[in-house]
């Protein structure tokens, strides 16, 4: 507890380039960037594969294999290969991490929609893309959001590790603190990251309430 008071009570930790606001903003910035890129790739692909059924086996297999990829190793390798001039090299492993959960959940969500519902949509005169966006996506939305949530949390968590290769963000407090045996900083940084991850979690819970149709929510 004393460590937390030491860390959060220190005015030096609240201003300047090492201050909590700056570090938090950096963390959010590259998390959001990586998450958006991953979503832009994985969402359309997942919808397409789920709707058409093409390449499903390949997608599921490669996504499962990708889950085993160790974040830290990938990060270190990519940064060594490309260098740390910009934040792009760091974004690559983060994006690679966020794609599998989004892709698999989107695919499973669309795939898992009741066949009768799909047929009914066609029967009502909707065409391919209309069926997808007006019938399948709303029903699959809880699963799709789950995938997005898991991805977002993973990105926020992994961005912490990115501090090891010299990136900013909240991980700096942990990594630098460990290096200098400054445990209030380690502890404070860890608490900040946990709080941020929880905020993401609650943000998605809220989003779930807002965008998922009440009818779909009741069935689940």
């Amino acid at each position: 507890m004393n460590w937390l008071i030491d860390f959060f009570g220190n005015p030096d930790n609240w201003s300047g380039p090492d201050g909590i606001p700056v570090r938090l903003l950096q963390h959010v910035e590259f998390s959001v960037l990586a998450f958006l890129i991953a979503a832009l790739i994985a969402l359309p692909l997942g919808l397409w594969v789920g709707h058409t059924g093409r390449g499903a086996v390949l997608v599921v297999l490669s996504a499962n294999a990708a889950r085993a990829l160790p974040t830290l190793g990938l990060l270190v390798l990519v940064v060594l290969l490309i260098g740390v001039g910009t934040i792009w090299p760091v974004l690559i492993p983060l994006v690679a991490l966020a794609i599998p959960p989004i892709l698999v959940n989107t695919y499973e969500g669309v795939r898992g929609v009741d066949r009768d519902l799909r047929d009914a949509a066609y029967g009502m005169g909707l065409r391919g893309r209309q069926v997808l966006f007006r019938a399948l996506v709303p029903v699959a939305l809880p699963l799709i959001l789950l995938g997005l949530r898991l991805a977002a949390i993973q990105v926020v968590a992994t961005a912490t590790v990115a501090a090891y290769v010299g990136l900013g963000g909240l991980g700096r407090y942990i990594i630098d603190g460990l290096a200098t045996k400054d445990y209030p900083s380690v502890f404070g940084g860890a608490v900040l990251v946990v709080l941020l991850a929880l905020a993401v979690q609650f943000g998605f819970a809220l989003l779930n309430r807002v965008v998922v149709s009440p009818g779909v929510r009741q069935v689940r």
């Binding site: 499962n64 889950r67 190793g73 390798l77 968590a157 912490t160 942990i174 460990l178 946990v194």
Partner: protein, 223 residues
Amino acid sequence: MDEPLVRWDWIARNWDNGSPLAIRTLLENHVVMAFVPVVLGLVLALPLGLACARWRLLYQPVTGVMNIVYAMPSLALFSILLSVTGLTQTTVIIPLTLFSLAVLIPAVVDGMTSVPDHVRQSATAMGFRPLRRLVLVELPIATPVVLAGVRVATVASISLVSVGALIGQGGLGALFTDGWQRQFYTPIVVGIALIVLLAVFADLLLIALQRLLTPWSRARRSA
């Protein structure tokens, strides 16, 4: 870039040279730190999951807590625990056990829910007492769903151990920090490859285990 991605002679020299950074030693530590949490998690998740399946009121708060646990970054948990358990494997094993629990409790509950009611009633009608019914009827039927959870937990655990390298206990993850500090690709590539291979191998073992434990699913398909 003159440095090749993999120097095979380095691997040969460092496979089992007696140093704490020997690849074999790291691999062994990695296996321990990855599997102990899954086994512990399963041992804890079975009673907790069964309780949640029986008393549905419990399930909502338990999932809430587990969702929160799952949202916690591993590095953050490792560093918080570091002040309690110090530089030991326990510091890595405890958070990974919590992550395993977060995956396994829902798996046990879903598994128990997947037991059809008529099967349960038939078992009761045949004279099975609750405990015997649980062990001989319900758990075997729940096995595929539970094992699916075990597979997810195992792969995640194997991959996450490496983050422990940042607090000095990461099994094969030590190859990443070593390679980074020396700007040397080979250990990093070896570490990634071994971790992915380990995960695939463990996954195949679990698939084999599932076939062994649920012979009826094969019989039905071939019939």
